[in-house]
Structure formats: structure tokens, C-alpha cells
């Protein structure tokens, strides 16, 4: 097995309104192709951890390795490139760009990566749409879709560059059970079939238990590593 993500002694302080240790010596490792859920009470530091793992928050103590490479201390441009090529992100809210069609929203990270021609990217975006059963919506403006559909578009967007890791912060938090099931099945499939790694924060215990591994947090610490 290949360690795709490794966190060493992650600590995070907030200084306003008062000094507060949001993450306390968090250490864990995730293997390539794992589908990991992170659970814990509200305020336990799940989102804070995810922002650090996703390289968007760089103010923390400790070290993070992605695919064996230390990414702590890399400059912003390098981190941006890394996010673009290797990390997909899905939030609780879909966050699509409202002026663009669904298809364009999905294509944008790939256009930024610039690895494939526009025609190929468009083809791949259609493939992702098919995977999420949304190909009919391709040319609609993102704002014209239902919440569940928009969230699936956001997942398609997170998948477009075939990232090694997909990180999600309560991706099904606003979804009905039908949409939740679609999302879960896709995660299951891409981790099992495509060997992509899923790290998702969730409040949904059934969702968590059905994943490969559950990490539980409490008061900024991991209290259960799930193995």
C-alpha cells in the first residue's frame, strides 16, 4: 500500500477572540484508495483539519506529506498548482460559479491545469457528468439546477483532474437520502475502481460506517483512528 497523505503533529491555534488550540497534535496516515470518514461533534476541529490538509490554510504547526512529499512550507503558487492537479474539494455548499454552465464549471479546473486540449477536457467533463447522471444538465446555467444536482456538479468538478485525493466537508449535509446515496456510491466506486482517495467529514453516521474507515475527533484530537 502507498501512503497518500500523512499528517504529523498538526497543531492549530486561533488567537481571536481568545487564544484557542483548535487542533492538538493530530497525526494520522491515509493509504491510496481509502475512503475515510472523519466524524466528531460540532466544533471538534474537523473543518479546521480539512482546510490544513487541503493546503489552503498554511498557518499550523507540524508536517504534512502528500504522496510522500513534504508540502508544509511550500510557497502559495506551488500549493495552488498542487491543489489544482492533486486535490479535489467538495464543500457542504456547492459553490458553483453562477455565470457559467454546468459543463464549464466542471471544465474550469482542467482548463487551468492545461494538460489536455479543450476538446478532450469537454469530453472528460461529459464523462464525469454521465458518472453523476447529469449529462442532460450540461449546458444549463449552474443556478438553474436543484441543490442536490448542483452538489453533484460540484463533485464532478472535484473529479475532473483525476486528483489523487478528494476532500469533502459534509458533502451530503444538505442532500436528501436519494442524492446522498448517489454521492456515496460514487465515492465508493472511485476509491475502489480508480484507486482515488476520499477523505470526507460527515455528520451522517450511516454514511461514515459504510465507508472504509472512520476517524473520530474530539476537542481538536483524534480519539479513534478507525483501525
Amino acid at each position: 500500500m502507498n501512503s497518500i497523505l500523512k499528517a504529523e503533529n498538526i497543531t492549530k491555534f486561533f488567537y481571536t477572540p481568545v487564544e484557542f488550540k483548535a487542533l492538538n497534535d493530530v497525526a494520522f496516515e491515509v493509504q491510496q484508495g481509502e475512503f475515510v470518514s472523519i466524524i466528531g461533534k460540532s466544533g471538534s476541529g474537523k473543518s479546521t483539519l480539512l482546510y490544513i490538509l487541503s493546503t489552503m490554510d498554511t498557518e499550523y504547526g507540524g508536517k504534512i506529506y502528500i504522496d510522500g512529499n513534504l508540502i508544509t512550507g511550500l510557497n502559495q503558487d506551488k500549493l495552488a498548482r498542487l491543489r489544482n492537479s492533486s486535490i479535489g474539494f467538495v464543500f457542504q455548499f456547492h459553490y458553483l460559479l453562477p455565470e457559467f454552465s454546468c459543463l464549464k464549471n466542471i471544465m474550469i479546473p482542467a482548463l487551468k491545469l492545461g494538460k489536455y486540449s479543450r476538446e478532450e477536457i469537454e469530453y472528460q467533463a461529459y464523462e464525469k457528468l454521465k458518472l453523476l447522471e447529469l449529462e442532460e444538465q450540461a449546458l444549463k446555467p449552474a443556478s438553474k439546477l436543484s441543490g442536490g444536482q448542483q452538489q453533484r456538479i460540484a463533485i464532478a468538478r472535484a473529479l475532473i483532474n483525476d486528483p489523487k485525493i478528494i476532500m469533502c466537508d459534509e458533502p451530503t449535509g444538505n442532500l436528501d437520502s436519494k442524492n446522498t446515496e448517489i454521492v456515496f456510491n460514487i465515492f465508493k466506486r472511485i476509491s475502489a475502481e480508480l484507486n482515488q482517495t476520499i477523505i470526507t467529514v460527515t455528520h451522517d453516521n450511516d454514511f461514515a460506517i459504510a465507508s472504509d474507515r472512520v476517524i473520530e475527533m474530539q476537542d481538536g484530537k483524534i480519539i479513534n483512528h478507525g483501525h
Binding site: S47, Y51, S54, M56, D57, Q76, D77, A80, R81, L82, R83, N84, S85, I87, F89, F91, F93, Y95, L97, P98, E99, F100, I108, P109, L111, K112, L113, R118, E119, E122, Y123, R157
Partner: protein
């Protein structure tokens, strides 16, 4: 797929910028129009200054050479040559020596000056104060003793002639060309005789061979041209008596560069037209500063409208910026997106402003104001158009850069947390 293959595709940053701008067409047009007004005002006001200055220079060059060579006034010195002896007190009463203003060897000086590259004309000139008499009527004025062919080459006197011909002066040694005001006041026509008296009391009977009319009625009431030899006789001087040499160069603005060369070649004093017309130059500067400050204020307002719309877009798009950054758009991509938005609006506005400016110039250039100006002295000035274009784009770049840099600094985490 075949459809998109034929399209020309933009870089994704530019594509986002264009999409943002197209999503708010109305605002874009309004801001572009504000920029257009600024650029049009800039082009218009500066073309006005350039046109006006060129027009007044042209009027000036009808009677002023680019460079004038003359003998400088000398101040009297003490007669005692040894002021080092401390015991002797010397009383000095400095005043201008009423010395001879004669330039020695004028023909040789002219030859030397004409050999300077970029000198186009150089001619001798002798001004003499005179009284024009016809019967009991008398007028005083000033006559220029000239080589009329050379003088014409310099000042295009022929273009002001309303009766007769300048060539008549060549064939008539005692001929005189009068301003129309003199002819009118003394009731004289061409081919009439007139007596001209110098301050030394020398009288010449001269034949009127032509009349000229300039745009300046004072000149027309006082000024005349005669052959150099007659002017010399009126001053009781010999045929080599010359007080001034007038020099024209290819580019009046560069005339000052030759002044020191001419001084050292000739050993006489030389003065360029700007030096000789300091108040006209001061007026020009005043006009330049006035119009310059007005157009800068208008441009600042235009820049502010661009800054405002880009700033507003950035504020509205915080969430989008955070998403783009989460997806791996670097800070410089974000800067590029918003600068491009500013540049789209700004170049649209600048282009519209150039067209609007050209229309204003065209319209005003058709306004007849009469007097010595005729039509309003404003013309299409390509270099000002170009300046308007560059200023427009530059101002847009700055106005767009400030909010764009702010956008690049957006911290996605804090945006996501607060939603």
C-alpha cells in the same frame, strides 16, 4: 465537438474575466462611457492647446525669425584699467554705450551660418524708424530694409500682399511696400509716390510698389519694406551697414540648440524666438498647465469609476474567488482575471473616447471665429490620439490593479468559514 474546435479559445483566466464582464453589460457600458468622456476630454483639450499654440507660433513666425543675430549693448567701463591699486578710488557711471550696432562682414557671417546643417534661411535685416509723409499728412512707423527675395523666403510676405507684387521691389530700387493701414490713412495707392523721412532728417521720395495686409492692424498701420540700400541711406550709412541677421531653421522648436554655435561662429549675440518672446512662452505654459490639470482631474474621475466597478466586482465575487483558489488558481491568476476585466472596460471606454474626441475636434474645427484666427485652431493631432490611448490604458491598468491585488489576497478559508 466540431463546433468548438473552430472557435478561438481564450486562456481560462481571460475567459472568466470576459464572462464576468458580459454578465453585467449595462454596468460595463456605463463605466466605459465615463472613461470615454474622460479620454475624449483629454484628447480634445490637449488638441486644443496644441492647435492654439501652433496657430500663435505661426502668427509669430510671420514677423519673427527663429534666431536673430545682433550686436549686444555694451555697458561703459571705468577708464582706469587698474582697479587693484587700492589707494585710487574710481568713480564709475555705467551706462549703455551708444556704440555702433554694425555687424562686421555680414556676407561672410551669412555664408558661415548657411553652412550649418538645418539652417534654411539667413538674411540681413535693417530696421529703421521713419515718418511716412503724403502732403500734410504724416505717420510714424518702422521700415525694414531687406533683400526682399530672402525676406519672402523667411516670412512669406507675398501671401500678405493685396496689391502689387514683391518682385516690384527688386526692379524698383526706391520702391516701398506699405501696410494697407498706412496707405489708407495717407490716402495712397500703388504707383503713388511717398516721402519717407528718417530721424536723422534724411528724406527719400519712394514709389509704392505694393500693399500688404496682415492679421494685425497695428502692423498694417506702421510697417513697410524697402530695399536694404535705401534703409542704409536713411541711416546715413554705407552699403555694408547691417544691424541684424535673421536665421530660420528646419524645426523652430530646436532653434535654441544652434544659438551657442552661432554665437561662437559669429562672435555676436544671438537669441532664439522663445527667448525673444518670453511672455508668449509663459502664456503657452499657462495654457498647458490649465488644460493639463483639467484633463488630469477628468481622468482621475474616469479612473475612479473603473476602480469602483472592479472593486465592487471583487467584493461581489469573494466566494467565487475563494472557490477558484481552492481549485488551484494562484494569486496571479486572480490578478489577471480582474485586471483583464478592468482592461476590457477601459479599452472599450478609451476607444469610444478616441472616437468621441475626434468628433468633438471635427465639430469645433468647423466653428468660424473670425478675427485673425478664422476657423477655430483645432486639428486632429495623431500624437495626442496616441497619448490618449496610452493614458487610457495606463490609467485603467492602475485602477484595475489595486482591487485586483486585493482579490488575489483573499483568504479562501476565511470565506468558507463565514458562509
Amino acid at each position: 465537438m466540431s463546433k468548438t474546435a473552430h472557435k478561438i479559445h481564450l486562456n481560462v483566466d481571460l475567459e472568466i474575466a470576459f464572462t464576468h464582464v458580459l454578465a453585467k453589460k449595462k454596468q460595463t457600458i456605463i463605466v466605459a462611457f465615463a472613461v470615454a468622456i474622460g479620454i475624449a476630454a483629454f484628447i480634445f483639450l490637449n488638441s486644443l492647446v496644441v492647435g492654439f499654440n501652433r496657430d500663435s507660433d505661426a502668427a509669430l513666425f510671420k514677423s519673427t525669425p527663429h534666431i536673430r543675430i545682433y550686436v549686444d549693448d555694451k555697458i561703459s567701463q571705468s577708464l582706469l584699467q587698474d582697479p587693484s591699486s587700492k589707494t585710487t578710488s574710481v568713480i564709475v557711471n555705467p551706462k549703455i554705450i551708444n556704440e555702433n550696432k554694425k555687424l562686421l562682414n555680414p556676407a561672410q557671417i551669412i555664408e558661415q551660418i548657411k553652412s550649418i546643417e538645418s539652417v534654411t534661411t539667413a538674411t540681413t535685416w535693417l530696421n529703421v524708424n521713419v515718418f511716412y509723409n503724403n502732403g500734410s499728412s504724416q505717420l510714424n512707423g518702422s521700415s525694414s530694409g531687406v533683400d526682399i527675395t530672402e525676406a519672402n523666403a523667411m516670412f512669406d510676405i507675398q501671401s500678405t500682399i493685396v496689391e502689387g507684387n514683391i518682385q516690384n521691389l527688386v526692379s524698383t530700387p526706391n520702391g516701398i511696400i506699405l501696410g494697407v493701414g498706412i496707405a489708407e490713412n495717407l490716402n495712397i495707392k500703388t504707383d503713388d509716390n511717398i516721402s519717407v523721412v528718417s530721424p536723422l532728417g534724411i528724406v527719400k521720395i519712394m514709389k509704392v510698389v505694393g500693399l500688404f495686409k496682415t492679421s494685425n492692424s497695428v502692423v498694417d498701420k506702421t510697417k513697410s519694406y524697402m530695399n536694404l540700400s535705401i534703409a542704409q541711406q536713411l541711416m546715413a550709412q554705407g552699403p555694408d551697414y547691417i544691424t541684424d541677421i535673421y536665421v530660420n531653421t528646419k524645426d523652430s522648436d530646436k532653434a535654441v540648440q544652434y544659438v551657442s554655435t552661432i554665437k561662437s561662429i559669429t562672435g555676436y549675440n544671438a537669441e532664439d524666438w522663445k527667448e525673444a518672446n518670453k511672455s508668449a512662452e509663459a502664456n503657452k505654459k499657462t495654457r498647458g498647465v490649465m488644460m493639463g490639470s483639467i484633463s488630469i482631474i477628468i481622468l482621475i474621475v474616469a479612473a475612479f469609476t473603473i476602480y469602483n466597478i472592479v472593486n465592487m466586482t471583487v467584493k461581489q465575487k469573494m466566494q467565487d474567488i475563494a472557490i477558484l483558489k481552492a481549485q488551484g488558481f494562484a494569486g496571479k491568476s486572480v490578478v489577471k482575471i480582474f485586471i483583464t476585466e478592468a482592461m476590457i472596460i477601459g479599452s472599450l471606454g478609451t476607444f469610444m473616447g478616441m472616437v468621441l474626441g475626434a468628433i468633438l475636434i471635427k465639430a469645433l474645427s468647423k466653428v468660424y471665429i473670425g478675427g485673425d484666427k478664422g476657423y477655430f485652431p483645432i486639428h486632429f493631432e495623431p500624437q495626442i490620439m496616441l497619448m490618449g490611448l496610452m493614458v487610457g490604458l495606463f490609467v485603467t491598468l492602475i485602477a484595475g490593479y489595486i482591487p485586483a491585488r486585493g482579490a488575489a489576497k483573499v483568504d479562501p478559508v476565511s470565506i468558507f468559514r463565514n458562509l
